[in-house]
């Protein structure tokens, strides 16, 4: 600093730096250079900054010569290609999956339950004729509604009948199960059939009250 004027150095340093770094010669350059001749502190600082600039320029000289490798694009492309889809896409996928699951619940599940609950042949006197339609396989119905046969568990019957057990008396006429052989083709008619045994005897199992 010039004695008694401590603010002189900062005032000149910007102009000195512009001159050293870019050879910019502005209105304040000559005054700053004159100050530099007298100021040891500015001279030291400017020398060090000039060294830094030189080091940075050397790095620049290296940097200008480098290029990315030839296969850089291929790697970037692969990374971009394996990215997960955009959010709206996976939301759509999720929506489609959920819609499919709902559709399966509506269409497939009743059919599956119907098949499990396939009753025996229709009873005489009921709307549907057992002989005309041919005796459907009653085995499934028997298994369901003839627990003494010991082929199905009470749990299965509970699910089908919506009841808590098989020992409780049920109304045969309220049972609406499909024969296994006809469940896909004649569901409406089949549902009207009361459950019977393979011998045509109405099953005593009932639906819950």
């Amino acid at each position: 600093m010039i004695l008694g004027r401590p603010s002189a150095c900062p005032r000149h340093r910007a102009a000195l730096l512009d001159f050293v770094d870019r050879r910019e010669h502005g209105p304040g350059t000559d005054v700053a250079l004159a100050h530099l001749d007298r100021c040891r502190s500015c001279e030291t600082e400017l020398s060090e900054i000039a060294l830094l600039i030189t080091a940075l320029r050397r790095i620049q000289a290296e940097v200008r010569l480098v290029e990315p490798s030839q296969d850089a694009w291929e790697r970037v492309r692969l990374v971009a290609a394996r990215r997960p889809p955009a959010p709206w896409r996976w939301r759509m996928s999720l929506g489609a999956t959920m819609a499919g699951a709902a559709l399966a619940a509506v269409v497939v599940m009743p059919a599956a339950f119907g098949r499990l609950a396939a009753p025996g042949p229709p009873m005489a006197g009921d709307g549907a004729s057992g002989t005309a339609d041919g005796p459907p396989a009653a085995a499934v119905a028997l298994r369901v509604y003839d627990p003494p046969a010991g082929r199905l568990t009470a749990g299965v019957v509970t699910i089908l009948a919506g009841d808590d057990g098989i020992n409780r008396p049920r109304q045969a006429r309220t049972l609406t199960f499909l024969p296994a052989a006809t469940d896909r083709h004649e569901p409406e008619r089949a549902r009207r059939w009361p459950a019977t045994t393979s011998e045509g005897t109405p099953i005593r199992a009932t639906t819950p009250d």
Partner: protein, 207 residues
């Protein structure tokens, strides 16, 4: 102040937003050198620079829908590259590979002896580490102006700031870099023969 975007640049951004992979490739070709050189300039490591290049463009692709066609992507790309570079340097500051023989051969003063070359390597390392400790806005101007060799006007245009702001940031960055290196007694590494820290007092000797 934002950089004006040229029609070709805007077209590339529109194509990228439309999921055009060819457009993305053209975008990559246009800006890869900027990103790669920034990364290499600050790490001195080709492998790290390749990874940073890849990560930067992967991010660009991921955020393609948010890139505005009326705004140059250069400041954004440069910022991402700087962040990735410093994140990497922070993770493994010591692990960056020294310059290869090829790198040394490209130096202007490659004819110097092994001792001088080692000294220069250490000088560059000291400078890089000093730059890494600057604030992001100062890193940005130092990288573009000194490492890429852009002019004040070009740096100003890319960063969307006024030329006077570029200059003041450069002044501040250099002063800060010098102070940091002096405080760590590493200024000597920058030049090899300099004495240790120099007081920065305002005292002025007479002529």
């Amino acid at each position: 102040m934002s950089r004006e975007i040229d029609p070709a640049e805007a077209d590339l951004l529109r194509r990228m937003r439309a999921d055009d992979l060819d457009g993305f490739e053209a975008f990559f070709v246009r800006y890869r050198a900027l990103v790669y050189r920034t990364a290499f300039g600050l790490t001195g490591d080709h492998g790290a620079a390749e990874e940073i290049l890849q990560d930067t463009f992967e991010r660009a692709y991921r955020h393609r829908s948010t890139l505005r066609p009326d705004v140059s992507p250069v400041p954004w790309l440069h910022r991402v590259a700087l962040n990735l570079t410093y994140s990497r340097l922070g993770r493994r500051r010591v692990a960056t590979r020294p310059f290869s023989e090829f790198d040394l051969a490209t130096l202007p003063d490659a004819s110097s002896g092994p001792a001088e070359q080692a000294e220069q390597q250490e000088a560059r390392r000291a400078v890089r580490e000093g730059v890494a400790r600057l604030s992001p806005k100062h890193q940005g101007v130092v990288a573009l102006y000194y490492l890429h060799g852009l002019s004040v006007q070009e740096t100003s245009a890319i960063l969307g700031i006024r030329p006077g702001t570029v200059k003041s940031r450069l002044h501040y960055a250099l002063g800060s870099l010098r102070t940091n290196l002096a405080a760590e007694a590493r200024l000597g590494e920058v030049w090899g023969t300099l004495p240790g820290p120099v007081p920065t007092g305002e005292a002025e000797a007479g002529p």
